[in-house]
């Protein structure tokens, strides 16, 4: 299995204040990886660094063997990275259908690419609201749309920042179910979430970060076996 995303010893700062000190993480094709840690430890910042929103002060990020650090966000996206961001960031002035049409591409060369129809078949609720504007959707529908929007770019790597935050339990289940079926068709995923047990069931390996440094890495089995890690680093 070849490495798709390779982050090595990355450091980054917002202006004067350094947020990331030493983050390393590698994800192979078809793997599901997670980024764990308490609030404010640098998870979202790591993702913003991958997406090209903040420059690195040290280290490097490679995607499919090519350095992407220093590229503009749009260039990085076109290489095949799609983000489901924290807070969902649905466009209030685009309809559901427009969200799924506007950015459609086949960046992974998928033989059975994601289309509007395919997204609607996975999330039938969105089909019912096809002509509603983004700001008329519930939180759950917005999250489904954010995932659908990312999928229509047919990304090689799908990143979800806070996959189920603020959602009702039933909707959360639907999202977990969706991620499991994406995994089953070989989608490479990097996911951030608070529900460690669900992530253990879903993912291959995990990286815990604390104050901008990677402090633990291991497989689902290793994380499941030692709940002391949860208490020490995640506060659960």
């Amino acid at each position: 299995m070849s490495t798709l995303l390779d982050i090595r010893h990355v450091a980054a700062a917002y202006g004067e204040s350094q947020v990331l000190f030493d983050i390393s993480l590698a994800i192979g094709e078809g793997e599901v990886a997670t980024l764990l840690g308490r609030n404010g430890m640098g998870k979202t910042t790591t993702i913003r660094a991958i997406c090209g929103f903040i420059p690195l002060s040290a280290g490097c990020i490679e995607f499919s063997g090519a350095t992407i650090a220093g590229d503009r966000p749009a260039q990085i996206a076109k290489r095949g990275i799609a983000l489901v961001p924290e807070g969902r960031q649905i466009f209030p002035n685009l309809t559901v259908k427009e969200h799924l049409l506007a950015f459609a591409a086949n960046r992974s060369g998928n033989r059975d690419p994601w289309t509007v129809a395919k997204v609607f078949s996975v999330f039938p609720q969105l089909a019912e609201r096809a002509n509603h504007l983004g700001n008329q959707l519930s939180g759950g529908e917005q999250q489904m749309l954010a995932i659908g929007r990312a999928l229509t770019t047919n990304p090689r790597l799908l990143i979800l920042d806070e996959a189920t935050e603020g959602l009702a339990p039933l909707i959360r289940e639907e999202i977990w179910h969706c991620l499991a079926s994406l995994r089953a068709v070989g989608q490479t995923i990097l996911v951030i979430d608070k529900y460690v047990q669900r992530l253990i069931n879903l993912a291959d390996h995990h990286t815990i970060i604390e104050k901008g440094r990677g402090v633990w890495q291991g497989s689902s089995a290793a994380l499941d076996a030692d709940h002391g890690i949860w208490h020490r680093h995640l506060g659960v």
Binding site: L83, P85, Q89, P92, N93, R149
Partner: protein
Amino acid sequence: MTQLVIEQALNGLQFGLMLFLLAAGLTLVFGIMDMINLSHGSLYMGGAYLGAAATHASGSFLIGMLTSMAGMAVIGVLLEITLLRKLYQRDHLVQVLATFALILIANEVVRMLWGSKPLMLNPPANLAGPVELLGFSYPAYRLLIIAVGITVAGLLYLLVTRTRTGMWVRAGASNREMAEVLGINVRRLFTGVFALGAALCALAGILLGPLLAVQVGMGESILILSFVVIVIGGIGSIRGALIGSLLVGSVDTLGRALLPTLLRSVTAPEIARQLGPAIASILIYLLMAGILFWRPQGLFPARG
């Protein structure tokens, strides 16, 4: 009286449509790049001068119009790439100061090239006269402006609401970062938007040239009205710019034409004569204050 109202309503529509040509570009520039561009009015002035010069040189109003639109699009792109692009990340005060400087420079350049006397620009000869319309005569040229305005506004509306490029523009206007992370090169998209905005400014400039004087400083008064329009409509919203333009155009035109007469029927003629024009000239600002009180984000906010 009815005839006056209809005539003024048409004038209001015509003025509103021309305002829309300016406001459309201004609202997208403001909405997508969060950039206050005071020099937008200078593109309008430049378009009028370039159009007048090209019309005189070629003898054809149409050639003048197309030359001016193409010329201003090129100037707009150059301006954006060389100067304005460096201002996007700066705060609004810096943008206002820098683009105000551009107004002064543009006015001086125009004065050097064409002198400070207003240029004459005649409407095309076959449209110079009036036409009979619903039992009264109305200038044919103003009808042309209305027709061109409706056509361009319609095309622009289709472009923004029905095409993929339009979706990108709307997405960029509401959440620039998210549009980029989905693969849209917002910077390049914006250069295109700027070129189109400059061409529309030029179109408004040459169309209004025969009605208003082509003179130095003509951009500033219409710039202020355009800002009123986009604030009323909601910054970044094309639909808002269209509705706002028509509102401001008709309220301003009808207010100036009818308010003194209306006041005369309720107060003494002396008071009406003084109060009428005074109220008419602030009417659109009252409209803006009223709409902002009711909807602080404008009629069609582009941001969530």
